[in-house]
């Protein structure tokens, strides 16, 4: 190190005791085993989050969140602003990839039972972040104020409206009135750029703190192998460099997608036009959308829609609470039942997404 840099380092070290931090970093090890690949999906999700923050802020420089101007401002970004098309395409593509990588991350944690004691809170903060991501997807989708977004928002908010008792007030709260109007755009814009990022950042901080405090989770089979046979790799620099290589690959994939498959803008929303044929939600809502199509209007005395929403809500809640009811995994015992549930859910989501896609 150059003397000036050394001096600067000594100055900061004297005040913040960086030595301890470096010692901590140097002691961090990542277990190496046949399932190690799944460790990379958390890191890459973090990388995609950073891209979203940066491209999101850039879009904010030109975006105008009102009924009259939203669509036109994105047209302006895409056709007049230098590299505007790239920034907007990146933001849209990253959003989709982000949800995909967090889903992979979540399911890998689920199947490895990495949520088991003592990592219940890490799982809980992660699940909350995943729900927030879906919220980001939903709120961000309306911002271009195009035809598809207009009806997606109508349907999405109307679905919450069917929930007994709390549904109606929540619907009004989200729409800023009884209908999807400019007021809805203002609200969802506020959620998308202020409320959700604020909460998300706090959860992300906690999530990362927990991971660092507890270290990487070891799968059950790894924990059972004798200590001498367990392989590890230093986090710094070995694991971090591999992490960053993966980030670089993902960045390239993103660049290819954004350049060769630029995100479409569609036609401006018109509250007095019929819903266009072939209208579909984004892929990550497709399995729920497809299920709702199959539920009959009435099941016994209950509305089909209400039943569907309540069942999805309950399933999501149970899923989030898995560390608290899967006691077997917490005791270090194998629990095949969890694998069957996980497999069923994965197959259900994949099957209904494909049917929804083809329909």
């Amino acid at each position: 190190m150059k003397p000036t840099l050394k001096k600067l380092y000594a100055w900061v070290d004297e005040r913040l005791e960086l030595q301890d931090l470096i010692k901590f970093m140097a002691k961090k090890y990542v277990p190496v085993h046949s399932h190690s690949i799944w460790y990379y999906f958390g890191g890459v999700s973090l990388f995609l989050f950073i891209i979203q923050v940066v491209t999101g802020i850039l879009l904010l420089m030109y975006y105008k969140g009102s009924e009259e101007l939203a669509f036109e401002s994105i047209q302006f970004i895409m056709s007049k602003v230098a590299f505007g098309w790239l920034i907007r395409s990146l933001h849209s593509w990253t959003a989709n990839l982000f949800i995909l990588t967090t889903m992979i991350h979540m399911f890998s944690v689920f199947f490895e039972k990495a949520y088991r004691k003592p990592r219940e809170l890490t799982w809980l903060t992660g699940m909350l972040m995943l729900f927030l991501l879906l919220g980001f997807g939903f709120t961000g989708y309306l911002l271009p104020w195009n035809e598809l977004a207009f009806f997606a928002t109508k349907v999405g908010t109307e679905i919450t409206g069917v929930v007994p008792i709390v549904g109606k007030p929540i619907l009004q709260f989200m729409r800023g009135g009884d209908d999807v109007t400019g007021a809805t755009l203002s609200r969802l814009f506020g959620f998308h750029v202020a409320v959700l990022p604020g909460i998300f950042t706090v959860l992300l901080g906690a999530h990362l703190l927990f991971v660092n405090r507890q270290g990487m989770s070891e799968p059950l089979h790894y924990a059972e192998t004798p200590e001498k046979e367990r392989k590890t790799m230093p986090f710094f620099p070995n694991f971090l460099l591999r992490d960053m290589l993966f980030w670089l690959i993902v960045l390239n994939v993103l660049a290819i997608l954004a350049v060769f498959f630029p995100w479409e803008l569609g036609t401006k929303a018109d509250p007095f036009a019929s819903a266009p044929a072939g209208i579909k939600p984004e892929w990550y809502f497709l399995f729920m959308f497809q299920t709702l199509k199959y539920i009959p209007a009435q099941i016994g005395f209950i509305d089909g829609e209400v039943l569907g929403v309540l069942v999805f809500g309950a399933a999501g809640f149970l899923w989030m609470m898995v560390p608290f009811w899967d006691r077997q995994s917490s005791r270090g015992e194998r629990n095949r039942f969890i694998n069957y549930i996980g497999l069923f859910v994965v197959m259900y989501i994949i099957l209904f997404t494909i049917i929804g896609w083809l329909a």
Binding site: A183, F272, A275, E305
Partner: protein, 151 residues
């Protein structure tokens, strides 16, 4: 005068302070939360009550077609069946509020969002819609077609 070192007096004082503190905290919370919740509740805006609108001339609507007409802030679908008769319904699907359209090929009113179908009397005949579409009255005076609420 009571003795300050009397344990009963001290306990009374503590209880009072606790009560004041907890009560004060709750009152303060209520004083913050109530205005915030009220603020978030969208105010009722006076809407012009529309009872009837002019849809256009008879010649504007071909036989076997449907058009969306602005009825105040809500869309209404005006159907002219193959025989040339007019019918009008609320265009808001009773399922999840998408705007419906007329499908010539089915001879039905169709919602693209979840494949809901209504017959030309507005009755929900297939798919998820739970109720028929609300009907509107169509009156033809001379060449002029108007739509009004069924009262």
């Amino acid at each position: 005068m009571s003795d300050i070192s009397d344990p009963h007096v001290q306990q009374d004082k503590r209880d009072f302070l606790k009560f004041a503190l907890v009560g004060g905290t709750f009152a303060w919370l209520a004083a913050v939360i109530y205005p915030v919740l009220s603020y978030l509740k969208p105010p009722k805006q006076a809407e012009v009550v529309v009872n009837s609108v002019k849809a256009g001339k008879i010649a504007d609507f071909a036989n076997d077609s449907g058009s969306i007409i602005k009825f105040g802030t809500k869309p209404v679908i005006l159907i002219r069946n193959p025989k040339g008769e007019f019918k009008a319904f609320s265009a808001v699907c009773t399922h999840l509020e998408c705007t419906v359209q007329y499908r010539k090929d089915f001879g039905m009113i169709w919602c693209a969002c979840h494949n809901g179908k209504y017959d030309l009397n507005g009755r929900n005949v297939s798919g998820p819609p739970p109720r028929p579409l609300d009907e509107f009255r169509v009156t033809v005076q001379g060449e002029e077609v108007s739509i009004s609420k069924l009262s």
